[in-house]
Symmetry: C2
Subunit: 349 residues, 2 copies
Amino acid sequence: MSTLTALTNHQIRLASRPSGLPTAANWRHTEEPVAEPGPGGVLVKTLYLSLDPAMRGWMNEGKSYIAPVEIDAVMRAGGVGKVIASNNPGFAVGDYVNAGLDVQEYCLISAENIKRSGIFKVDASLGLTTWTNVLGMPGMTGFFGLMEVGMPKAGETVVVSGAAGAVGQTVGQIAKIKGCRVVGIAGGQAKCDWVVKELGFDACIDYKNTDVQSKGVRAGLKEHCPNGVDIYFDNVGGEILDMVLAKINRKARIIICGAISQYNNTTPVKGPANYLSLLVNRARMEGIVVFDYADRYHLGVAEMAGYLKSGKMKSREDVVQGIENFPTALLKLFNGENFGKLVLQVAQD
Amino acid sequence: MSTLTALTNHQIRLASRPSGLPTAANWRHTEEPVAEPGPGGVLVKTLYLSLDPAMRGWMNEGKSYIAPVEIDAVMRAGGVGKVIASNNPGFAVGDYVNAGLDVQEYCLISAENIKRSGIFKVDASLGLTTWTNVLGMPGMTGFFGLMEVGMPKAGETVVVSGAAGAVGQTVGQIAKIKGCRVVGIAGGQAKCDWVVKELGFDACIDYKNTDVQSKGVRAGLKEHCPNGVDIYFDNVGGEILDMVLAKINRKARIIICGAISQYNNTTPVKGPANYLSLLVNRARMEGIVVFDYADRYHLGVAEMAGYLKSGKMKSREDVVQGIENFPTALLKLFNGENFGKLVLQVAQD
């Protein structure tokens, strides 16, 4: 294994905390030699990193559902890689794994972290990037959030924002499989067409459509949710959350998964002015964090994998090349430029 | 019964819909002769009317959890009265009843309304005004809201706003009985002292205290909720809701019962800017409407009556005299002037 130490590990570290959208100045590129794995540990070569809206929150100081990334630390990221050295009988060189790899080319995973389930083997036949998407954290977020908090019943109307994103595409497809009417909200005609024509959503509202013929999201909800909204899976917050609140049914469930419209605010978050619709409709708004379901990921993965194999579900990723492009690639999430789950390819397999 | 027709029924009707706080111009005083009850109906003499924050909502146009009061209709109100004429074998002259009496001196209740459980006999030995308070709609709102949505467990911290009001006093006392730490929020030292010293709350924060020594509600929550907030029963909305959201624990439950701080807004409702605390804490915010529990009111009343009889619970009403004072009495709710459940006494027993 002595050849490992000849390898250089390029990394991207958090240099400073952003105000508003992250800029180049918030990042620092570093390199260091690759080390041998410790006793019981493994060394993983990063292939694909998952770029997620939640990353913006990790860059902020202060308590959240997970500790912030420290200044000068390698930026946190999950991803898929290949084991290139192993001192652990559970992992062989050549195994494909999903793990917290961070934004770097090589990642050492300690025995302790392996014990804490910080790494697991993946079935490459389902596609490597799929494990950052429908079969990864976003997929599990969508699956457990929809099923456990949303509790969909056949015939109900489910609205999902960020519909072409990683969580959104999972939520909408599961809701269809469960017999619901599914209405997406996405930015741009291409994404809307894709979720309707390829994923089978019943309709999709283009929130970026400023055509004078269009009345926007409000009119779209009125047209496509003639029986109101039973479940809203919210990835965006802001005005759209308020517009959906105005359309919810008695006993509706609103799953608060994210609020990407608010993450780069330099002004206070816009709270939902229509929240009293919860009172009028005896409805519920509940937050979810995927980690709470970690002991059942394998069940979610098994169900999603079954749908993928049988063709009932699709997984679309938008792959950007090169670790050096991490800072600019991340911004695609916030202007809605990514089409499908945003993934950074760090190395060829 | 022909003497009934000699009686005059004074009424207060909604003359126009208010913008902001209701004014005298929004009301019209009318009088009409009292009619005999129809077949199977009863005639009730109004003794006490319940004045509630929700009344402000009923004065607005548009869909809510209940139809608005129509212009020129007698203002909707529940209350306690005495049967003075009956064509129904279930009710005798002299019976005390709780019913939708509206803001008038006499109310005819039809056979159909009786069948729909629009009237029920009350035990006067527990106090007549108690039936507008702990044993009435506010009490049932507090009881079912706390128990069914809040699901308190012994040792948890429960915060309730409007703590000295009808719903608040019920919620806090039940939460104490269930073994919780209870922190009230109320306006003024007298109310705070009362809920702590008389009702047994663990603490009460005076949101009106502008003493420079005081840091307000935020500091009060920090001081009195050292283990965070597990349940927040919200009657007020606005800034206080945001401050509590900043203090909630993992899996907290927020019961949205009302938002009195927002009812007279002429600007849009202030949505809770800290609502993403629901995500971070996997917490839930859920609206309740008491009518949903109508088939179990008798169970709630029986439990509350038991606590009242055994001295575990108290019920405090603030009684204003005279139907002609309805318009000004109602305003006491919105400036927080009432001390205890606000009740209008329309007639002597």
